[in-house]
Every structure is written in structure tokens, then in C-alpha cells.
């Protein structure tokens, strides 16, 4: 398999951590891709022009990290990152959606500043995204305090770990840990996993 990646994308990191946790890492060849370079050839693999994109051994191209992770999860015999059925499946997918929403809002903030001319930036948009991140983190703090993040590693916790790591990378000034001790303690432990350590974005 081939993975189009960028070293700072939190969605790519999710895929990379999932591959490490499921023992599939060795089967994935990596192609570094700068999607913001006007000359990029990413559209040949992903018409949406985004990373991650996975080209399977059969030549099928999967874009979108949830789809890629769903695919990877079907290739190994270990414990599944997303339970195949039952209430656990919806809990994991829901945690994934919440954490992924933090990524979406954080990436939107970064793009607003990096990809647009300075005089075309809109504070209202930045504030809206920041508010979403804050609300999602508050909901996660309650979950963490109730023990809802404990247990075996899942696609939900992987995505949350990558989302928090991305906030540290891009918005350390937001100090997301303030007022969220349970979530901070959870992340402190989770980020020690070898899969997280091996994928720390370059600062």
C-alpha cells in the first residue's frame, strides 16, 4: 500500500498511529506530499486534493482518514480499533467524530491564516472554530472524568490523541489543559504510547 502523507497533518497521524497499533505499518510505503504547493500532483490520487490518501495493493484509492482506518482495521487479526457491532461501535465512532471535529475546526483556523491573504481573514470565522474546539474539549473533559476514555485503544482514543497533539503543535497558546485536568491526565498517559511517540509532528 502507498500512503500520501504530510508530516504535520493530524488526519495522517491518525492513520499512521492506527497502522502502528494494528501492526500494519511495515506494509505501508510513504510518499510525502505538500498539498499547498501549486505544483502538487496529489489530485492524480485524490481529486479532492487532500492528504491522507491511501492507494491499496489492488490500486483502489481511499481518501478520507475514517475510510482508510476502516479499511486497515479489516486487514489484521488483532483486537479491532472499531468494534464490529453493538453499542461499543457507536460509542467509538462517536468519540471519533467528536475528536475529528476538533481537528476540522483547528485545521480550519490554520488554513484561514496560512492560505489566505492577510486582509481577507475573518475573525468571526476564527472565533466560531475556537468556540467549537472549546465546547468539544469540555464535553471530553466530562467524559474523561467519568472514566469514559479508559480501556483498550480504539479509533476514538487515537483520534483524540492526535487532535490534542495538533492543538499543542499549532495552538499551544490556547492552553487547552487549563480547567481540564482529567483530559490532560489522560493525554499525558496516552501520548506515551510507542505509536504516538513514533509519530510526533516536527515542531
Amino acid at each position: 500500500m502507498k500512503l500520501r502523507y504530510s508530516p504535520t497533518s493530524p488526519y495522517v497521524r491518525k492513520v499512521a498511529v492506527a497502522a502502528l497499533e494494528t501492526g500494519l505499518d511495515g506494509r505501508i510505503e510513504r510518499i510525502e506530499t505538500d498539498v499547498w504547493n501549486p505544483e502538487t500532483d496529489i489530485a492524480e490520487d485524490n481529486p479532492l486534493g487532500k492528504v491522507p490518501a491511501l492507494v491499496t495493493d489492488e490500486g483502489m484509492v481511499l481518501c478520507d482518514s475514517p475510510t482508510i482506518c476502516d479499511y486497515l482495521d479489516s486487514l489484521h487479526d488483532g483486537p479491532r480499533l472499531v468494534p464490529a457491532e453493538g453499542p461499543g461501535r457507536w460509542q467509538v465512532l462517536n468519540l471519533h467524530a467528536l475528536a475529528n471535529g476538533i481537528m476540522d475546526a483547528a485545521v480550519a483556523r490554520v488554513v484561514e491564516v496560512r492560505a489566505r491573504p492577510e486582509d481577507k481573514r475573518f475573525d468571526g470565522w476564527l472565533q466560531r472554530q475556537t468556540l467549537k474546539i472549546g465546547r468539544a474539549l469540555d464535553a471530553l473533559e466530562s467524559r474523561a472524568a467519568a472514566g469514559g476514555l479508559d480501556g483498550p485503544v480504539t479509533l476514538g482514543t487515537i483520534t483524540l490523541g492526535c487532535a490534542l497533539g495538533y492543538l499543542d503543535l499549532r495552538f499551544s497558546e490556547d492552553a487547552w489543559r487549563d480547567g481540564r485536568p482529567a483530559l490532560a491526565a489522560w493525554y499525558e498517559a496516552f501520548s506515551q504510547r510507542p505509536s504516538m511517540q513514533a509519530t510526533v509532528p516536527p515542531g
Binding site: 479532492l48 484509492v61 481518501c63 475510510t67 465512532l93 467524530a97 481577507k120 475573518f122
Partner: protein
């Protein structure tokens, strides 16, 4: 179950079409939600502040249309809109991801041209998103004969994406260079589930 909805959201439409196709529509109570209204209480159901959000009979809150649609699929008897692991599943999920990517780009373009203060609008952004939409549509045109198989979430998502382009960007004339996709959509749009969910501005 309760569904937070808006009459213009194409992601909500995916959920509604799915529910109708599965015969579950009658079990869903609808709660109209304006996400742009700062006084709206929908943040309590989805900290990310988005529709669709589904509150299940067990009180679980699900969001993100792919998760909600797959949950509904798990409740219904009969042929699955999300096939089990295997080639058919990846085909369906891949198609959904492509269609959702079209929607993500179309929503960003709509926000740029309708919601952002006029002085802060930037044509470069509109071009970037329009380029993604066009390339993804070209890809769908190349695969159009594959759209006629058994119904999956992939075709539902493609149908809702094309319907949204007609709703917001009819002037693009996406059909002009994509005759096969246009022919497929012509048939698909006649399904009762599509007819009952045509987007419209709130009264």
C-alpha cells in the same frame, strides 16, 4: 429517535434519504435547528454545533452523517447500505468519501460567497474549492457506470451532493461535460426518497 435537522443541509439530506430507503423514517422525530442562531440550544446535543445530530432511543448522541447513516443501517432488516467488509464495502465508503468531499468544498464555497462579510471574500478560495468539486465530479463521471448497482450509502451521498450543487451552484452547469453522471442522476433523483427531501430555504 430525534434528528436535529435543517432543510438546506446536504448532510442532513443523506440521513433523511437513508432513513426513507430503510423504512425507518416513521421512527424519527424531527427538531428544526438553525445552527447560525447564537441562541440555539443544539450545542447541548452536539458540542461541534453541527447538524445532523441524532439522539437515539437510548439517549446516545450521534453525529456526523456517515455515523448516523451506518447506525440507522444497523437497525434495519434487509439489504445493507453499508456492505460488510470486502470490496463492496470499500467501493461504497470510497464513493461516500468522494461525495462528502464535494459537499465539504461546496459548503466552504457557499460560506465564502454568502456568509462572509463582503470585504473579506477572496476569489482564490472560491477557485480552490471549485477546482476540488470539478475534479471529483470528473472522477465520478469516469465511474458512472458503477453507480447503477445495488443501492449503497455511496450512491445516496453522490445523489445528495449533486442535488446540493443544483440547489446552490446551478450556474456551474456541472452536467455539461459529464453526460453519464447526468443521466444517472436524472434517474436517481426520481426515487421517492430523493423527491421527498429536495432542499429548500426555510419558510
Amino acid at each position: 429517535m430525534k434528528l436535529r435537522f435543517s432543510t438546506t443541509s446536504p448532510y442532513v439530506r443523506k440521513v433523511s434519504v437513508t432513513a426513507i430507503e430503510l423504512g425507518l423514517d416513521g421512527r424519527i422525530e424531527r427538531v428544526a435547528t438553525n445552527t447560525m442562531d447564537p441562541k440555539s440550544d443544539h450545542g447541548a446535543d452536539n458540542p461541534l454545533g453541527k447538524v445532523p445530530a441524532l439522539i437515539t432511543d437510548d439517549g446516545e448522541r450521534l453525529y456526523d452523517s456517515p455515523v448516523i447513516c451506518e447506525y440507522l443501517d444497523s437497525l434495519a432488516e434487509g439489504p445493507k447500505l453499508f456492505p460488510p467488509a470486502g470490496a463492496e464495502r470499500w467501493r461504497a465508503l470510497r464513493r461516500q468519501a468522494l461525495a462528502d468531499g464535494i459537499l465539504d468544498a461546496a459548503i466552504l464555497r457557499m460560506l465564502e460567497t454568502r456568509r462572509r462579510p463582503e470585504a473579506l471574500r477572496w476569489d482564490g478560495w472560491v477557485r480552490l474549492q471549485s477546482g476540488k468539486i470539478a475534479k471529483a465530479l470528473d472522477q465520478l463521471e469516469r465511474e458512472a457506470d458503477g453507480l447503477d448497482g445495488p443501492l449503497t450509502i455511496g450512491e445516496i451521498a453522490v445523489g445528495c451532493a449533486l442535488g446540493y450543487l443544483d440547489f446552490r451552484f446551478a450556474e456551474d452547469g456541472w452536467r455539461a461535460t459529464r453526460p453519464q453522471l447526468a443521466a444517472w442522476y436524472d434517474g436517481f433523483a426520481k426515487r421517492p426518497s430523493m423527491q421527498q427531501t429536495v432542499p429548500r430555504e426555510p419558510a
